[in-house]
């Protein structure tokens, strides 16, 4: 085991997979010479050359579409969108091409493509550099969506995503690059579609992912001092979502709080609660609760921004609400 940062975990995962498989390459704005805006791909162009770590013009649609064409032709592209907010520019290629091509073609091709996209707010970067669009991709059959947060999961899931024969949208939280954690020294993967129980408890289940999974653990620790035992599930993957683990936990607690950083309307939490009602209504002993961002563009001012993004207190409120009836 070594203690490394999320940034290093991402870099290591890509380096190891590029050594393992010559068809893996990286394209995106500033991924080469600069080593990515957050230093994630530092050193990779020097090691693998300009063709395998390619600096692109600022053309998100074609960066994504280039990935589609290369994947259809048998390569394993890692496409980087510098800030996930700009994935809007690449939506046609991701939604109408990457996600559907195998199905439309009757299974004639694979689409082994990873789209890495830094998401999330909290840095005072205002409305076009702070968003979380994961719910859009949850809606599209043909895509997988992963949102790991610890260095261990980030590395293991990025490796799984690169080896997967489907298009995987990989959201990394841009406030978490310096987060440190234990990572095995030998090759390992974390399977796509498996949640992790971060804390066991019998009173209420808190389901969260990415940065919110960390906040949920903090909330659970504080609530434990009040005698409330929360079970915290870090989903790690959103598509396919590990409902088995969620329902198993709900069986024990009967109460559930689902957290997301994105603004609440039309988000993952709504979808997860709806699925829980469909799949496990009888397990519910109280109303399911959603915790999420306010339905407002992200404001610049620090104080205002803090009001939008749900913090530990809002999760604690959610837990109390879930326990209230």
């Amino acid at each position: 085991m070594s203690i490394i940062t999320v940034r290093q975990a991402l870099n290591d995962a890509m380096r190891e997979e590029m050594i393992r498989d010559e068809s893996v390459f990286i394209i995106g704005c500033d991924v080469g010479l600069r080593g990515n805006a957050f230093g994630v791909t530092k050193g990779l162009m020097e090691e693998f050359g300009e063709k395998r770590v390619r600096d692109t013009p600022i053309s998100e649609a074609t960066i994504a579409g280039l990935g589609v064409g290369a994947a259809a032709a048998g390569m394993r592209p890692i496409v980087e969108i510098l800030y996930s907010d700009w994935i809007t520019l690449a939506m046609d290629q991701l939604v109408n091409m990457a996600a559907k091509m195998r199905y439309m073609f009757g299974g004639k091709i694979n689409m082994p493509m990873v789209v890495r996209a830094p998401f999330g707010g909290g840095g005072g970067m205002a409305a076009q550099h702070s968003q979380s669009f994961e719910a859009w991709f949850n809606h599209i059959p043909g895509l997988k969506v992963v949102t790991p947060i610890t260095p261990h999961d980030v590395k293991g899931l990025l490796k799984s995503a690169i080896r997967d024969d489907n298009p995987v949208v990989f959201f990394e939280h841009k406030r978490a690059y310096t987060l440190e954690g234990d990572v095995p020294d030998s090759d390992y993967t974390v399977p796509i579609g498996q949640a992790a129980i971060r804390r066991e408890g019998s009173d209420v289940t808190i389901v969260a992912y990415s940065q919110m999974a960390l906040k949920a653990q903090e909330a659970a620790e504080q609530l434990a001092q009040e005698g409330i035992a929360c079970e915290v599930i870090d989903l790690r993957t959103l598509v396919p979502l590990d409902y088995e683990s969620v329902l198993k936990s709900l069986e024990k607690t009967g109460r559930i709080v689902v957290c997301q950083e994105a603004n609440l309307r039309g988000g993952m939490a709504s979808d997860i609660v709806a699925e829980i009602i469909d799949r496990g209504f009888d397990l519910l002993e109280g109303q399911p609760v959603r915790v999420g961002g306010l339905n407002v563009p992200m404001p610049y001012n620090k104080g205002l921004e803090e009001m939008v993004i749900p913090g530990v207190d809002r999760i604690k409120e959610g837990v109390r609400k879930a326990l209230s009836d």
């Binding site: 390459f25 063709k51 395998r52 390619r54 692109t56 013009p57 053309s59 649609a61 074609t62 960066i63 994504a64 579409g65 280039l66 990935g67 589609v68 064409g69 290369a70 994947a71 259809a72 032709a73 048998g74 390569m75 592209p77 046609d92 290629q93 109408n96 091409m97 091509m101 195998r102 199905y103 439309m104 073609f105 009757g106 299974g107 004639k108 091709i109 694979n110 689409m111 059959p141 043909g142 997988k144 997967d164 024969d165 489907n166 598509v239 396919p240």
Partner: protein, 353 residues
């Protein structure tokens, strides 16, 4: 390249209608046998889409189908300059591209009938027809959306060093999408082995190109990307072949992309049942005298290359092949089993609900 002169000049009245009209100068590297094969493929594509229109009207084919009638010389001329392992990307008018790349009309007709034996197992239809085995990376229902895909296929070839080139067919409509600019710029920047062929039929759905663009000669845009741009008669398969061959040679040598504008006129409506109320069809009428099947036939006969009977035999075979394809699609191919509905959303049989 030494050209065999077959027609000294294009009659003035042709040039009045079609300023890009060029004589059928046949490159010496196309033997007569290949010329006749090109003629056959053009006829096959023509008959395929002629019958598709009837079948659609009769309710045998659902959804949308877009005719390649009149554009056949572009696909057949261009693909004639390719190796079997080269890639092509297509448009929403993909039938001609499949045929030109060596695809099978029975399998394609079965797909248009939604059958399991079709190219896409009945899940794609006309607008997504794909023959990956023959290097045809699929038709697409979104105008311009295959441009980045072509750049990606070319990028894969460049990385692997496999010597393959990619032809990116697209229309004048596609040339006004943002990804057209991004794709050509990127391919040019990195000298990728891709040839961009604009099938300029001068109509984007119901809107004439000259109503939505100031510069209507698309090839002139090439200069803005630092790559060669050429314009050819899109009704002349040999002109398309020659231009493509030169571009393919450049691409294989690592000298980067070329933009070829094949100019002609859309002879029919946007889709098979389009009444074309938005244009004066009397202006389209003269173009029917210049379309490839008419001029090819005249070329073979005027130059006494083959007999009328031989041409009739080839024409008859094209008709018969399509009749057989329809018979296969309607009477022998089967409906997709219900249990295949969720197949291939994800790889290796994975189902996520």
């Amino acid at each position: 390249m030494v050209k065999k002169k077959t027609q000294r000049q294009v009659p003035k009245e042709h040039l009045d209608i079609h300023p890009c009209c060029t004589p059928f100068e046949v490159p010496e590297d196309i033997p007569l046998e290949q010329q006749l094969d090109m003629y056959f493929k053009i006829l096959l594509a023509r008959e395929f889409d002629t019958r598709v229109r009837e079948l659609w009207m009769a309710g045998h084919i659902s959804g949308l189908a877009h005719s390649y009638v009149g554009a056949e010389a572009v696909a057949v001329g261009a693909c004639g300059a390719l190796r079997p392992d080269d890639w092509i990307t297509s448009t929403h008018r993909g039938h001609g591209h499949v045929i030109a790349k060596g695809g099978d009309v029975k399998t394609m007709m079965a797909e248009l009938h939604g059958k399991f034996e079709g190219y896409n197992r009945g899940k794609g239809g006309s607008m997504h027809i794909a023959d990956v085995e023959h290097g045809m990376l699929g038709a697409t229902g979104i105008v311009g959306s295959a441009l980045p895909v072509a750049v990606g296929a070319a990028y894969a070839s460049d990385l692997r060093g496999d010597g393959r080139v990619t032809i990116c067919f697209h229309g004048d409509g596609g040339s006004n999408q943002g990804v057209w600019h991004e794709s050509i710029n990127m391919a040019a920047a990195w000298n990728l082995p891709v040839i961009f062929i604009t099938e300029n039929n001068q109509m984007a759905v119901a809107t004439a190109f000259n109503r939505v663009a100031r510069e209507c000669d698309v090839y002139r845009r090439a200069g803005g990307y630092g790559i060669p741009g050429v314009q050819v008669d899109g009704f002349n398969p040999f002109a398309v072949y020659s231009a493509t061959k030169a571009a393919v040679e450049r691409a294989r040598k690592g000298e980067g992309p070329t933009l070829i504008e094949a100019k002609f006129m859309r002879l029919l409506g946007h889709f098979v049942a389009d009444d074309q109320s938005y244009r004066d069809l009397s202006e389209v009428e003269p173009w029917w005298e210049l379309e490839p099947t008419v001029r090819m036939r005249a070329y073979f006969l005027d130059n006494k290359l083959v007999s009328d009977q031989e041409l009739e035999r080839i024409e008859g075979k094209a008709l018969q092949d399509i009749a057989d394809a329809i018979d296969y699609a309607q009477n022998k191919a089967t409906e997709p089993p219900a249990e295949t509905l969720l197949d291939d959303v994800y790889a290796h049989g994975e189902v996520i609900q």
